[in-house]
């Protein structure tokens, strides 16, 4: 498989020539995999001649990194929308590999998948489910702390970091499993939080920012079994109380009703 890598930082200048060739279509390899990195700050992406040349011949497009995938780091989301529309018109499949930076094994894994098995299964945001199929929180090494309700209140403290602004429950990525730098560590493993870098809402996260804490209402559905137990217990207690009250009421009703019954049926 031929890979064509276009980085907007380079391709906005004539440096793209070695990648794009002289424009003679005979020199272009058939059906390459087009790897796109970074986006322009202005809506001129789709007018880029080398890019269009490659788009018409590519078998698939791979967006690499959050800047290319979402256009929310100083780039233009409009440019991204134009490009997606163009891919759609050309019936060209596209895959997104977001992250800051994108984990290298995601890139290698997807290229291998495309080469040997075809298109991977994707989620609604065009991300491969193999790598973005579960939340960071689900496989986090501090998940047990969340379940028993032990939360870190300051940096460097043991416990789940949800109250320090961790975005793990909303972020889909394989960081806790695959880890970084040859499996040495990852964000939470080293003591930081997950800032949700592979989500489209990065870095604003609906006004929370990277370290803002979600409201308790938003956190409630994320709480695990142990956290839910007190509430569950409360409901059980309430239901049991209601049952007792109903039983007492029924008994009182029955006692009140019984003299009449006796009178009617002596």
């Amino acid at each position: 498989m031929r890979l064509i890598h276009l980085n907007w930082n380079i391709s906005s200048w004539e440096a793209v020539e070695p990648l794009g060739g002289s424009g003679n279509s005979k020199e272009l390899p058939d059906a390459p995999l087009l790897v796109l990195e970074a986006l322009p700050a202005k809506d001129t992406y789709i007018a880029n001649v080398p890019l269009n040349t490659w788009l018409e011949r590519a078998r698939a497009v791979l967006f690499v990194g959050s800047a290319a995938c979402y256009g929310t780091l100083g780039e233009s989301p409009t440019a991204l929308h134009q490009l997606e529309t163009r891919c759609h018109a050309l019936q060209l499949p596209w895959i997104k590999l977001p992250g800051l930076p994108v984990p290298p094994h995601h890139l290698i894994g997807v290229i291998a998948q495309l080469e040997f098995y075809g298109m991977p299964a994707l989620d609604a945001q065009q991300r491969p489910l193999d790598y973005y199929g579960q939340t960071v929180c689900a496989a986090c090494e501090r998940r047990g702390d969340l379940e028993i309700g032990r939360f870190a209140q300051t940096w460097g403290e043991a416990g789940c970091m949800l109250q320090l602004g961790c975005k793990g429950p909303w972020t889909y990525n394989s960081c806790p499993v695959a880890r970084w730098n040859g499996g040495a560590s990852w964000c939470v493993g080293a003591g930081g939080i997950c800032t949700g870098c592979s989500e489209a809402s990065y870095p604003d996260h609906a006004g929370m920012g990277l370290y803002g804490r979600a409201a308790d209402d938003a956190l409630a559905p994320r709480l695990g079994l142990w956290q839910a137990l007190p509430r569950l217990g409360g409901w059980i207690f309430a239901l049991a109380g209601m049952g007792v009250l109903l039983r007492v009421a029924a008994a009182l009703w029955g006692r009140a009703a019984s003299p009449d019954t006796r009178r009617e049926n002596p």
């Binding site: 980085n7 907007w8 930082n9 380079i10 906005s12 200048w13 004539e14 440096a15 020539e17 070695p18 322009p40 700050a41 800047a67 780091l73 100083g74 780039e75 800051l100 930076p101 300051t154 940096w155 460097g156 043991a158 602004g165 960081c175 880890r179 970084w180 730098n181 040859g182 040495a184 560590s185 990852w186 964000c187 939470v188 493993g189 080293a190 003591g191 930081g192 939080i193 800032t195 870095p203 920012g209 990277l210 370290y211």
Partner: protein
């Protein structure tokens, strides 16, 4: 108008050299991403993450500069163990950058890929790669080959040492990830210290990592760099920069600081060397003067001054008449070069304290040049290699001061004044990082970043003076039409560790 353009490989962000009809070489990069505007309205913790987008080799140091700006402004409790961990991380990031730069950015300018085809050593992977290299088509082989000055034994050694450097880089990345999460991004910087917990296994892993990198960094890197300078004597004088060198130094206790702050202007006046220092030896009081004194010219850059209430000082104007560059021009009474050679020379003039290794004196012996003219391609490369060696040795001694369980982050979050301004500096492998920040109600209102490659790759200022890299490129009347001379230009660019992404941010 321009006559010739060549793309420089192995530069982050992409760089094109353009030569006009008068023979003048200029730098061309892509437009900026607008990172400074993106920081507006954000909290300091957000800033610590987002400034790392500037560049892979400098991200850690941008975050440190932002952090120091915040700590300078607020009543922040500084945890000693957290500060030491930061220094360890800072040093390891520089060591990583210098090692990667020499073997994978600079050395390929001298050692052609096709030289691997003759490899007969014992490394099985290199032998397999040599076999593949020998099987390439004649046109490919010709494209990958150029004359070099190494003997066959030296070629073999350099390829093997590059493999060893790769293993050392892997170990360094492992250490950096354990401290920061996912190198080149660090997730554990917090005001006052680090969020990393000082557990016994962390210290063991760091010591193990040091052992794994020791040989490559302290033995191979300096030796191979010296070999390069022996075989390419022209490097001693190639690509001379301006006679003014900048190091912003490093905050902290003198015996823990790796670098000293200062500016050295190397003119000779009446036979005596005139030098200017902007601070005292500890690097503290003078930094404020430096921070308020430097300016950023946009005379020949695609920007115009921003309105008074804007969140940035200059806004993009791609149609500006006469503009030729996307890189602004930071200046402090003229053009300044920063980087390892600048740090070495500044430390040389501050040597009375005895706290910094004397690299400049050794460079004078090796390069046979006066100390104020050491900033040539050879001087920059050798200073970086020696600096990496010294830093790794300092890290080993720093780790001795740590014991498991020491607190690394303050128990209470800092609360700086609601409205204020501050500045912070750091030294990255490529040079000086300088940040200035204004904030209101705990959120950034304007942010100003000067990256190492902005000092070195700057455009021309109002006085027409070029930046250090342009000065170096134009000092030798090189023609980009010649492949050999274009390769010389690439060598000069790489000696600066230039990053276009960092310069434009």
């Amino acid at each position: 108008m321009s006559l010739l353009r060549i793309a420089i490989p192995r530069v982050e962000g992409g760089l094109v050299l353009v030569q006009d009809a008068q023979g003048l070489i200029r730098l061309q990069t892509a437009a900026p991403r607008g990172l400074e505007a993106l920081l507006s309205g954000r909290t300091i913790l957000d800033v610590l993450q987002l400034v790392q987008l500037c560049g892979a080799d400098t991200g850690v140091h941008h975050a440190l500069a932002a952090l120091r700006a915040w700590e300078r402004a607020g009543e922040v409790e500084l945890l000693p163990a957290g500060q030491v961990l930061r220094r360890v991380l800072e040093a390891l990031a520089i060591v990583h950058a210098q090692l990667r730069h020499f073997y994978f950015s600079a050395l390929p300018d001298y050692l052609p890929p096709q030289s691997l085809a003759g490899y007969r050593g014992g490394d099985p992977e290199l032998r397999a790669a040599a076999k593949r290299s020998a099987q390439r088509s004649p046109s490919d082989r010709q494209a990958q080959n150029f004359p070099h000055a190494f003997s066959p034994a030296e070629v073999q050694r350099l390829w093997e040492n590059q493999r060893e450097a790769l293993r050392a880089l892997h170990a360094l990345q492992g250490m950096l990830a354990r401290l920061g999460g996912k190198y080149p991004v660090v997730m554990t910087f917090v005001p006052g210290g680090m969020a990393t917990r000082l557990e016994p296994q962390l210290l063991l892993q760091l010591r193990h990592g040091l052992e794994a990198t020791h040989y490559a960094v302290t033995q191979l890197l300096p030796a191979d760099c010296e070999l390069l300078l022996q075989r390419y004597g022209v490097l001693h004088a190639l690509g001379p920069g301006p006679p003014a060198l900048l190091s912003a130094g490093m905050d902290g206790v003198e015996d823990q600081a790796f670098f000293v702050a200062g500016i050295v202007r190397g003119e000779r006046i009446n036979g005596a060397e005139r030098r200017e220092r902007i601070d005292d030896a500890a690097g503290q009081p003078g930094l404020e003067a430096f921070s308020t004194a430097y300016s950023e010219s946009i005379a020949q850059a695609f920007y115009r001054p921003a309105p008074a209430q804007a969140t940035v000082r200059a806004i993009v104007d791609a149609q500006k008449a006469g503009a030729v560059s996307w890189i602004k021009a930071p200046r402090l009474r003229g053009t300044l070069e920063s980087g390892p050679i600048a740090r070495s020379v500044v430390a040389h003039f501050a040597r009375q304290s005895g706290a910094w290794p004397e690299r400049a004196g050794l460079l004078v012996e090796r390069l046979k040049r006066p100390v104020h003219a050491l900033n040539t391609a050879g001087g920059r490369l050798l200073a970086g290699a020696w600096e990496a060696r010294d830093l790794l040795l300092r890290v080993a001694s720093l780790l001795e001061t740590l014991t498991p369980g020491m607190p690394t982050a303050p128990a209470r979050a800092s609360t700086p004044a609601l409205t204020g301004e501050s500045y912070g500096h750091a030294e990255a492998a490529a040079g000086t990082v300088a940040h200035r920040v204004h904030w209101k109600a705990g959120r950034v209102t304007s942010y100003d970043i000067i990256a190492p490659s902005a000092w070195n790759g700057s455009s021309r200022a109002e006085d027409g003076a070029a930046g250090p890299l342009e000065q170096a490129l134009n000092a030798g009347s090189h023609s980009l039409a010649s492949k050999a001379e274009a390769r010389i230009c690439a060598r000069i660019v790489h000696s600066f560790r230039f990053s276009a992404s960092d310069a434009t941010h």
